[in-house]
């Protein structure tokens, strides 16, 4: 099925309303044509100077058609927009369902690009499908059939010839316009892409270019791309401009054809003389209606790109991990044995035989260099990634458990948890909808955010802004922590929650995290090793394997990866201590402390 048809299927449940809109639109267009036709008849008949009374019906009709055209058009626009908005809403829901099914792993293939911004723009473009493509076409076809039918009745040869011209216009005009525009754009596209790359490169490097005095040559390089695009644009203007004029060309063809056929018919009496003006003017009016089609063809061309991208989302295969239906039993810890896992499309295993265990009430830390498989482990434990080997919790293999049920037992805090564009309270209650205010405040206390929230004029009802931008990075993570605590999961996984924070904020958050997880079963995934004395066990992952594990003391005496990394981080802390003793804002000799 073509992407556009699929899109149409996803947003056209309001068939009746759309059909009604198309019909009312047809009435509007038909009124416009009838207005000119009746006026032409009225004047031609009047020229024969009949009793004025015989003209009164036509005079009333002329006014009625005038009124009808405007009113029907207004109704069409209302009905069409209402149906289009309903379709858009459906489209969002169906896109959301498709994305939900592939979250989180399938989502990665889309988020790599600019899914979010593209999704918004593509969905907005989709509104063109009913409004600028289907409705104009539906009424263009209906009104063409109506006009040609009338001409057939009036003078069969005229009907046939005009019918052929209309058919040609309906097929050739949009095809030609859409095709030439597509071709021209295809020829322009590489130049435009190169230009955009050059612009982005020069802007991204702007400080380097300015300080090194290389801004002029860089601008000249951009300008060279620009000139290429401009001269291409000049060359393609002949093709791009084709949409203007083709309508008038076909209109002229139809009018002249009508004259050539009807004039002899009038002369030899096959057609009453009053009908000549009608037959000549009807094509003129009909083609005024058909003038929207080249624009519609361009809209269709634009829509195809958006539809193809949206179809990619609809067609993305859902995770097969979603199929399991097992019910979890009582939580009795977690045992992982020889666990292997691989990301789809990846060459090697991200986890190549990991074994570890955690009993209720224990806290373990998982550390290691980036890319060692720490986050992959978290993904497996959350039921989001297939695995070989064994990972047992709540009396069952994780792969056999229903994902949503599993995640009622195991909770996770992500590297950058999403903060929703709503109030603090609503963000927190995402953890548990029915939590009382007292529970919410208790969670905030534990996350050490309560004092700050109390100080806000709107308190819990404060809006946090899109992506939580009205909060600092540390506050966002504290909010995410409170949300996780409120959810009361039996095992919590903290996946590098301080990754994107500056050193000072990270250290403060670390303290909160250690305090909050003290009485809980928790897995701390981290690259910050300070404070891990408090962990029951530390597992060091490298290349998807556990290379060493044990308590802090045991690992320090082993003098392996952990001990080396910890010493480096302690050195950083001594730097922080050095900074602490210095006076602010004044140059001083380097204190001996640092040299020690």
């Amino acid at each position: 099925m073509s992407p556009v048809r699929e899109l149409w299927k996803a947003m056209s449940a309001q068939r009746t309303e759309l059909a009604l809109a198309a019909f009312v639109g047809f009435l509007a267009s038909a009124s416009a044509i009838a207005l000119l036709g009746t006026s032409a008849w009225l004047i031609s008949r009047a020229a024969e100077m009949p009793p004025v009374l015989t003209l009164s019906v036509a005079a009333v009709m002329v006014r009625a058609f005038a009124l009808g055209r405007a009113v029907f058009r207004y109704l069409e626009r209302l009905l069409g927009h209402d149906a289009a908005f309903r379709g858009l809403s459906q489209l969002r829901v169906s896109l959301y369902r498709s994305l939900e099914a592939i979250t989180p792993n399938g989502l990665a293939q889309f988020t790599r690009g600019d899914l979010i911004s593209r999704l918004g723009a593509d969905v907005d473009t989709a509104v063109d499908l009913p409004l600028r493509i289907v409705l104009p076409w539906a009424q263009a076809i209906l009104v063409s059939i109506g006009t040609v039918a009338f001409l057939l009745w009036l003078l069969p040869t005229a009907g046939v010839v005009i019918g052929i011209v209309v058919l040609l216009a309906l097929t050739v005009m949009p095809w030609l316009v859409g095709r030439t525009a597509a071709h021209a754009e295809a020829r322009l596209a590489p130049g435009k892409a190169a230009l955009a790359n050059a612009v982005l490169a020069s802007l991204t490097a702007s400080p380097d270019l300015l300080v090194l005095g290389a801004d002029r040559p860089a601008l000249a390089a951009v300008h060279a791309h620009d000139e290429r695009v401009t001269s291409l644009g000049r060359r393609e203007s002949v093709a791009l401009g084709l949409s203007g004029g083709t309508g008038t060309l076909f209109q002229g063809l139809a009018v002249v054809a009508a004259l050539v056929i009807t004039i002899p018919a009038v002369i030899d009496g096959r057609l009453p003389a009053v009908m000549l003006a009608v037959a000549a003017l009807l094509p003129l009016a009909l083609f005024d209606v058909l003038q929207t089609l080249p624009g519609s063809a361009l809209a269709f061309h634009r829509l195809r790109g958006a539809a193809a991208r949206l179809a990619e989302i609809h067609e993305a295969p859902a995770d097969d991990s979603a199929q399991a239906t097992g019910r979890p039993g009582e939580f009795t810890g977690l045992v992982v044995d020889n666990l292997r896992a691989r990301w789809s499309g990846a060459e090697g295993d991200a986890l190549a035989g990991v074994s570890l265990s955690i009993a209720p009430g224990e806290r373990i830390a998982i550390v290691g260099p980036s890319g060692s498989g720490k986050s992959t482990l978290a993904t497996v434990l959350m039921g989001f990634l297939k695995y070989d080997g064994s990972a047992v919790t709540c009396g069952s293999e994780i792969r056999a458990l229903d994902g949503d049920d599993l995640r009622e037992r195991i909770g996770m805090m992500e590297q950058s948890s999403h903060i929703f564009d709503t109030t603090i309270a609503a963000n927190l209650r995402l953890g548990r909808l029915d939590s009382t205010d007292a529970e919410v405040w208790a969670a905030l206390e534990e996350a050490q955010l309560a004092e700050w929230v109390r100080g806000l004029p709107l308190g819990l009802d404060t809006e946090v802004g899109a992506f939580g931008t009205r909060l600092s990075g540390g506050q966002q993570q504290r909010l995410a922590l409170a949300r996780l605590l409120l959810a009361q999961r039996e095992l919590v996984i903290l996946d590098e929650p301080t990754e994107h924070l500056d050193a000072q904020t990270a250290e403060q958050l670390d303290r909160t995290l250690f305090a909050a997880t003290a009485s809980r079963t928790a897995i701390l995934i981290t690259h910050r090793l300070v404070g891990l004395e408090a962990a029951d066990r530390i597992y060091v992952l490298d290349g998807g394997r556990v290379i060493e594990h044990g308590t802090h003391e045991a690992l320090m005496s082993r003098d392996g990866w952990y001990a080396a990394a910890r010493r480096r981080q302690d050195e950083q802390r001594s730097m922080a201590e050095l900074i602490d003793v210095l006076p602010v804002g004044i140059g001083v000799p380097v204190p001996p402390l640092a040299r020690g």
Partner: protein, 555 residues
């Protein structure tokens, strides 16, 4: 929205030429419209009233064909001219915006939102195609055609002229009145539509989090419910705002009907000639058509003008002033006195008052917490920010008085995240090109020396292509440390008198860390004034003085 922003004429000179062309083409179009109506009505009258045969009116039928053909060619020509002008205008706007954005430095739009500015000057201005090819010519026609038609009607029939003359000005009047009445509501509605789209995107972005909390499936209904709520309130507004086009259509069609009926009745009473009546009937709708089409193209035009307006906003941001004094040659002493900086609209200073003197041949280490003003201080030293308090003096002259190009040419700068590119922005620059950025005349041996000073000699000579090895556009294939050392070589090849180095806060490999320290020591030994932002003790240890940089108000 102003139909034609005068700034467009000012910033994009190609617009002027196009306006002249559009007016000329518009006048010719208007004349063709009238001739066509004349020819068509004459044909019909000749046949129906005088009984002429096809061969007798053949010339006129050909004339109708020729006129319509000419109109088609003319509107094709208009679009061609429009696309050509649009291409030129886009280039003008793009060049101006880019040059200005670059000159505004990293604290301007180029630095804060490079991707946004790129989209604006590429895809954003493409919307001007529709503005030029559809809207502007139609706007010109909407002025010329009604006037020409009215003048022609005047010579034919006074009553019809009066009907058209009264109703035509009412159309823009009604549009403005209804537009004013609905504007604030429509604006608000567009905002709620944006909220609707935002709500959807927010949920999509938060899908992993929703799934972790088992809330993902239930949000589908929320999307439907929110969509429905916004749809009904939007329709409430559209019912009113579509009234403006209803009024427009009603005026246009009813006045055509009025003209038709009035000429028809007078014709029947023998007060008017058939030819005149038919001519008037054909002309009257032509007076309204361009006005109706202007409304149709309004939306596409607004998009292009919106992009142009955002470009004007960039262009109208004043450039920082640049002193004219040339740097004296020789060693450089930098005096920083009570230097502070507060961003506009902020209460707390980003850089608290700082005082130190950096002497030639010494190393000054700047330390402090992240977000604590170090990069603000560097930005002031680079001339990207003008201090809000205090002063930086270079060999006695205030930095504000020194020509920034002369100051920057004496600096070797190693940013924390250097961008390694060639000055022709080629996608895969070679090592030599990267090092020569800003120093195009450096010889191969100078480049090699700089690379050796940055501790890269062994690694480069191990490469089969040596200096001509191409780098990946995104810097992949190089370790962070090598990246940093290439930037050091790029700074050293300039033979700088001042070296500003921002040490990466993330750990480098030991080899690179040692190379950075060695390069800093060597530069100071050569008499360079060295200022480094230090994140690790190694760089502090070799410094002659250390400055703790802080933000906020000090007690």
């Amino acid at each position: 929205m102003r139909p034609l922003d005068p700034r467009l004429l000012r910033y994009a000179r190609s617009t002027r030429g196009f306006m002249v062309a559009a007016v000329l083409l518009g006048v010719v179009t208007a004349i063709l419209v009238i001739l066509q109506a004349r020819a068509l009505s004459t044909v019909i009258v000749d046949v129906t009233a005088h009984g002429f045969s096809l061969s007798e009116v053949g010339g006129l039928v050909l004339a109708v064909a020729a006129l319509m053909g000419a109109r088609a060619v003319l509107s094709w020509a208009t679009e061609i001219a429009a696309f050509r002008s649009a291409a030129a205008v886009k280039e003008e706007l793009r060049t101006a915006a880019l040059t200005h954005a670059l000159a505004l430095g990293p604290n301007g739009p180029a630095g804060t939102d490079p991707a946004g500015v790129t989209t604006l000057v590429t895809r954003g201005v493409d919307a001007l195609d529709a503005y030029f090819s559809r809207y502007l010519p139609q706007l010109v026609l909407a002025v010329i055609v009604p006037i020409t038609v009215l003048l022609t009607l005047l010579g034919q029939d006074i009553l019809s002229t009066v009907i058209v003359a009264i109703t035509i000005p009412l159309i823009p009047l009604f549009m403005i009145l209804i537009g004013m009445y609905t504007k604030s509501r429509v604006d608000r509605q567009w905002k709620t539509l944006a909220v609707l789209s935002g709500h959807f995107l927010d949920l999509v972005a938060g899908l992993p989090t929703l799934k972790i909390f088992g809330r993902a499936k239930s949000q589908a209904e929320a999307i439907a419910a929110v969509g429905d709520r916004y749809r009904s309130s939007t329709m409430g507004v559209l019912r009113i705002s579509f009234l403006s086009s209803l009024a427009l259509e009603l005026l246009a069609t009813l006045s055509v009907a009025l003209v038709a009926v009035s000429v028809g009745l007078r014709l029947a009473e023998g007060q008017m000639a058939y030819g005149v009546a038919l001519f008037v009937l054909l002309l009257a709708p032509e007076a309204y058509l361009p006005l109706r089409l202007v409304g149709q193209h309004f939306h596409a035009a607004a998009e292009g003008l919106g992009a142009a307006e955002r470009i004007f906003a960039i262009l109208e941001t004043p450039l920082p002033s640049d002193g004219g004094v040339e740097m004296p040659s020789g060693a450089v002493t930098i005096d920083v006195t009570e230097l502070g900086y507060t961003y506009a609209g902020h209460d707390e200073p980003a850089l608290a008052p700082t005082t130190f003197t950096a002497q030639p041949g010494t190393v000054t280490a700047l330390v402090g917490l992240s977000g604590g003003g170090k990069s603000t201080l560097i930005n002031v030293l680079l001339g990207f920010l003008a201090p809000t308090t205090g002063d930086v003096r270079v060999d006695g002259s205030s930095l504000a008085e020194i020509s920034s190009s002369s100051w920057r040419s004496s600096i070797g700068w190693v940013p924390q995240s250097p961008v390694l590119i060639a000055d022709d922005l080629t996608e895969n620059p070679t090592i030599a090109q990267v090092v020569r950025l800003g120093t195009p005349d450096a010889t191969d041996s100078e480049v090699r020396t700089a690379l050796a000073d940055a501790g890269l000699a062994a690694e480069i000579s191990a490469l089969p292509l040596g200096l001509d090895t191409a780098l990946n556009s995104d810097g992949s294939g190089l370790s962070r440390g090598q990246h940093q050392r290439l930037a050091i070589a790029r700074a050293l090849v300039r033979r700088p008198r001042v070296l500003l180095l921002d040490e990466p806060s993330a750990a480098l490999d030991t080899e690179s860390e040692d190379a950075v320290v060695a390069a800093v020591c060597a530069a100071a030994a050569r008499g360079c004034t060295v200022i480094v932002v230090a994140h690790r003790p190694a760089l502090v240890e070799i410094a002659d003085q250390v400055v703790r940089v802080g933000a906020g108000v000090l007690a």
